[in-house]
Symmetry: none
Amino acid sequence: MLNKLRVVMVNTTHSGNIGAAARAMKNMGLSRLVLVDPIACIDEEAIQRSSRADDILHNAEIFPTLEEAIAGCGLVVGTSARSRSVPWPLMTPRQCGDRVAQAAVADNDIALVFGRESRGLTNEELHLCNAHVHIPTNETFSSLNVAQAIQVMAYEMRLALTQTDTDESTQRWGVDWDYPMATHEQLNGMLQHMEQTLVEIGFLDPNTPKQLMTRLRRLYQRAAPDRMEVNILRGMLAAVQRTASSNDNAHNKQGEQD
Amino acid sequence: MLNKLRVVMVNTTHSGNIGAAARAMKNMGLSRLVLVDPIACIDEEAIQRSSRADDILHNAEIFPTLEEAIAGCGLVVGTSARSRSVPWPLMTPRQCGDRVAQAAVADNDIALVFGRESRGLTNEELHLCNAHVHIPTNETFSSLNVAQAIQVMAYEMRLALTQTDTDESTQRWGVDWDYPMATHEQLNGMLQHMEQTLVEIGFLDPNTPKQLMTRLRRLYQRAAPDRMEVNILRGMLAAVQRTASSNDNAHNKQGEQD
């Protein structure tokens, strides 16, 4: 669905920004770049800054007016830093992602329109848009570089249009973990082993346990160890127990001989 | 809360990227930039690309090592494009925003670590992190420019940290926690103590350490222990060491008497 989206840059002054925009687009899986009456051309700096996204630069379409650039689009969203005299529907980038996803599912072409480095889009251009999007910024330093604005928007569009990236359940510790999570019983067994061991080395007094085991339980449950990690911890505990028991034996032997 | 965050750039090669990073940070309300062993310096191009965010450049801190750059941090997140031999907790940028918000609410310092333009962070550097974050990208063109990666992350951090404190995500882990998170150095000190103790009880062979300490480091960094928890763990380790040393003494005494 990302192919339903075009990125429209209006009157861009710096070729490096066009190149950086192409790279940001390609990173996020967008490919269609449209330039409206560009002041910069696609030169060496653009190609260098695109970092091998020059296919997007070479395929960029150029139109003299915004109207031509957005022809055929069912949804046109303009980026805007300023609030306007006539208020327009205004979305956050995330809301824009939802809206764009709805439009793309319904097979609409969609344009995201970005203005000049110096002063953004004109009121007339903004009035050609279905809605505006405002990237939240520091109020005292609010002017994003245009390629950075395209990066943020392309990132949100990718999230909205590719479902796997938003499936949080598979992302908790990452999809490619090497061992399965320890079960509750396995973790519990380790904690009992730990408690026993701490008593044996005299660190835990079973008569005044305080909150020691509660805090240790919280720590390890929070980490949600995998089975290998539980095995390592139990191996450590067994080694501590051997040390303690060899200690007792030595003391006992010593006692016998005293 | 944005002032609890530092952006750490490791071995950056291009001064323009440092400048663009400073602008992206300031746009999103971040101000603390830390450079680890930078190859580029803060030159004219950096200042030009920063577009009046040169205050951030002039205040940038420079350290020879990542460890020094993340000193004092309760949460360290490294950006990673690759999957690793030992998998580490992996978050999306949005999940990272939640986690950072929790840590910031609880008054912890936080580092977001970004690697070299050419090859990101080393495994050793990534292993110093509590968790990794992966910005979702086009699989066939996945390498983001470092300033663009900082833009996306700073944007997500701004969204997460400027939400009201009544938001559910900030209530989960940070707000009412009883102790501050251990700093990176405190956790590192505990891990060194653990390594030493495991050698003393014969569980870790320093000549064939395999991945034992890497797995333990991952486990404890993932849990991001608070200071009380680190104190408890160190207390346990000291008790194990006393047991082992008393064992040695007993054996020695026994030897003397044999």
